[in-house]
């Protein structure tokens, strides 16, 4: 099928490839892309174990993620930035292939900026997520692994979309993506109210990530929480989940029942 190569070349404003009038704009990539086999999914996708979540509430959008990267049973990093800053008013989350997420989010940022320059107005979250979804759809079956949420604030208010590498795109108010998502959903869904303050929402997001890292081996590191409001996004906190554990379950000194005594003799 026709690949959307607009991400790999300078933006052609009017015509796609195949238009004889401007042959220089229709250059296809010179390498042939591999068809997906099961091997491609397993190789070096070191961020597939993860927990990310985002939800819309009264004041805007809250986005949170952990920071662990795992390759099978090996923890390759505890400090991966899984919340990607597309532009000052839009965030993307990373789940799946780290390189895929980073590259295509960066590419989306370029397209959003070009849209702004051409149309003298910011692109909507709807439009941005659609651009990404269309690109991912054109690479369907070729091994991209992306499970991302696009969160932002535009003229119509807060916006949240889930976009994945199968080409799916869903609009919603609460999403969690990754191996730790079932645990995060449990906490998120039971504690969610639309009328929350920013602090309450941040605390909910933080707790949801923490609980996911507690039970999911592939999630851990630092729980980052970002807030997206009418003036753009702002990082609210980045807490180590180990420390969060003792914050939620402080150590209480228990009464000593029996003291260990030195055994006389060897």
């Amino acid at each position: 099928m026709k690949l959307d190569t607009s991400g790999l070349e300078s933006t052609s404003p009017f015509f796609g490839s195949g238009d004889e009038l401007c042959p220089e704009l229709s250059a296809a990539p010179s390498f042939s892309l591999p068809l997906s086999t099961d091997d491609t999914k397993a190789t070096l996708k070191h961020a597939k174990g993860t927990t990310t979540l985002a939800f819309i509430f009264k004041e805007g959008v809250m986005v949170a993620a952990d920071s662990r990267a795992s390759m099978g049973g090996y923890i390759s990093s505890q400090s991966v930035k899984k919340i990607i800053e597309i532009n000052p008013y839009m965030l993307g989350t990373m789940a799946g292939g780290a390189a895929d997420c980073q590259f295509w989010h960066r590419n989306l940022g370029i397209k959003c900026r070009l849209h702004e320059l051409a149309n003298k107005r910011r692109i909507s979250v709807t439009g941005a997520s659609k651009l990404l979804a269309n690109i991912l759809y054109s690479y369907r079956g070729m091994g991209l692994s992306v499970g991302t949420m696009i969160a932002g604030w535009d003229e119509t208010g807060p916006g949240l979309y889930y976009v994945d590498s199968e080409g799916g795109r869903l609009k919603g108010t609460r999403f969690s993506v990754g191996s730790g998502s079932p645990y995060a959903y449990g906490v998120l869904d039971s504690g969610y109210k639309f009328d929350m303050s920013i602090e309450e929402a941040a605390e909910l997001a933080r707790r949801a990530i923490y609980h996911a890292t507690f039970r999911d081996a592939a999630s851990g590191g630092v729980a980052s929480v970002y807030y997206v409001g009418p003036n753009g996004w702002k990082k609210l906190s980045g807490d180590d989940v180990g420390e969060l554990h003792y914050h939620y379950y402080p150590v209480t000194p228990s009464t000593v029942e029996q003291e260990m005594a030195e055994v006389a003799g060897a």
């Binding site: 009038l21 149309n119 909507s124 709807t126 651009l131």
Partner: protein, 249 residues
Amino acid sequence: MARYDRAITVFSPDGHLFQVEYALEAVRKGNAAVGVRGTDTIVLGVEKKSTVKLQDSRSVRKIVSLDNHIALACAGLKADARVLINRARIECQSHRLTVEDPVTVEYITRYIAGLQQKYTQSGGVRPFGLSTLIVGFDPYTGVPSLYQTDPSGTFSAWKANATGRNSNSMREFLEKNYKETSGQETIKLAIRALLEVVESGGKNIEVAVMTREKGLKQLDEAEIDAMVAEIEAKKAAAEAAKKGPPKET
């Protein structure tokens, strides 16, 4: 030797693109078209040359809609217009599909102008021989806009403009008589401008009105005739008033 390079669009020694200029000539021979922007209404008016008796006049609509909220009128080669309009309509839908938003007037004007420009910079093609007047409301802010493009591919926004035959006289009239209007007043201003250069009567003018709520509405002959009658009556009254007072001294 000096004449041969005018067949394709290349620069002349003194910096002209003759093919583009000749295209502008074709526009000047086309029927008159006028557009007026009001505060809540935008009006497009086009001269209809005397209707051939056997022709079904409904098949030669000169004011067309590109989308629910955008309309276009043009002057020049009508066959070229068809091609451009089809491309623009596709782009309107394509934009809705990729960003889930209707186009703004400025966006589609830029697209059409870009298309016209492309054909001035390619081998083996000639420029489109038409100027367009594009009107519409911004889908979010509701602000009305009127834009004009020409064969060279330039475009700009206007409060009121005219193109085609005798456009200079119409533009002069508009410059003298333009003021911020709304509703019926805007329609009357557009018709008055057209009547400067066109034989008066409903069957020689085609008028379409665009409003935010109702979109594009083509006025039928009876409605146009009624307005023309109103305008002429007012004109006659104004002339009589001018001649009247001096006698009272």
